[in-house]
Symmetry: C2
Subunit: 123 residues, 2 copies
DNA sequence: CGGTATCCGACCTGATACTG
DNA sequence: CAGTATCAGGTCGGATACCG
């Protein structure tokens, strides 16, 4: 059943719904550097299991954030890419990320900066 | 035990962690219109139980987003207010909200606009 | 009035095994 | 290589009852 369709009161809820998934932020982050194959994503996120990865990718696809490109061949090949629509969200989230990093600085001090240095992109 | 201190890889994770709670967005939203007493918040969000409200407020407080003002008196009086630090986040989230609203338009069409009209503030 | 304690169910995530 | 199925564990939110 579950007719719990209590829709959002404010825009933030809608956005949150989309990136709430534990890994979605990181997945999208990795896609900002370019189209990726499934196993590439797996290598980039070793702690993320196949199942959950697929799951989260499906949701992101459903929300129109990413595009799934299927090469019909053997062995299978699938690539994921941020859609034009998705880029709109990402550009916005960029400032959120900056805030988040500053927040980390405040809360954890320098420790938080370690990982930051590992990437060029902010998001 | 649980030494799962796998800290964030990117800023977005930190921010998400803060507003991930199901009600946090809405709570903060209501506080944007000014300092509120506990029972005022409860009236504004009838579907939110006392326990969860307190819970989410505590977390927001821990993260420095809101301030808890305790009047030491009988009967008790407590007020919640967005901190200066919290406003920093909110200003940023504002553009996220706009995106969210547009997303709603895209996904649900006009239906999504109903609630939008009920408030002056974007967030 | 504001908050804590306890219990429970739903959901989300993860481990493992298997399919085309 | 990419994805599905199944099952188990943890976390979160919600209902209820009680305390200062």
């Amino acid at each position: 059943m579950k007719e719990n369709t209590n829709k959002y009161t404010i825009g933030i809820e809608a956005t949150l719904e989309i990136i709430r998934g534990k890994w979605k932020g990181i997945i999208v982050y990795h896609l900002t550097t370019g189209r990726k194959r499934t196993y590439e994503l797996r290598k980039l996120m070793p702690n993320l299991t196949q199942k959950v990865l697929t799951q989260q990718l499906r949701e992101l696809e459903k929300d129109g954030i990413i595009t799934r490109i299927i090469y019909n061949q053997i062995p299978p090949k699938v690539e994921y890419e941020i859609s034009d629509y998705g880029w709109g969200l990402i550009n916005i989230l960029d400032s959120v990320c900056l805030w988040g990093e500053e927040h980390l600085d405040k809360v954890y001090g320098d420790k938080a900066l370690v990982l930051k240095a590992e990437s060029d992109v902010n998001f």
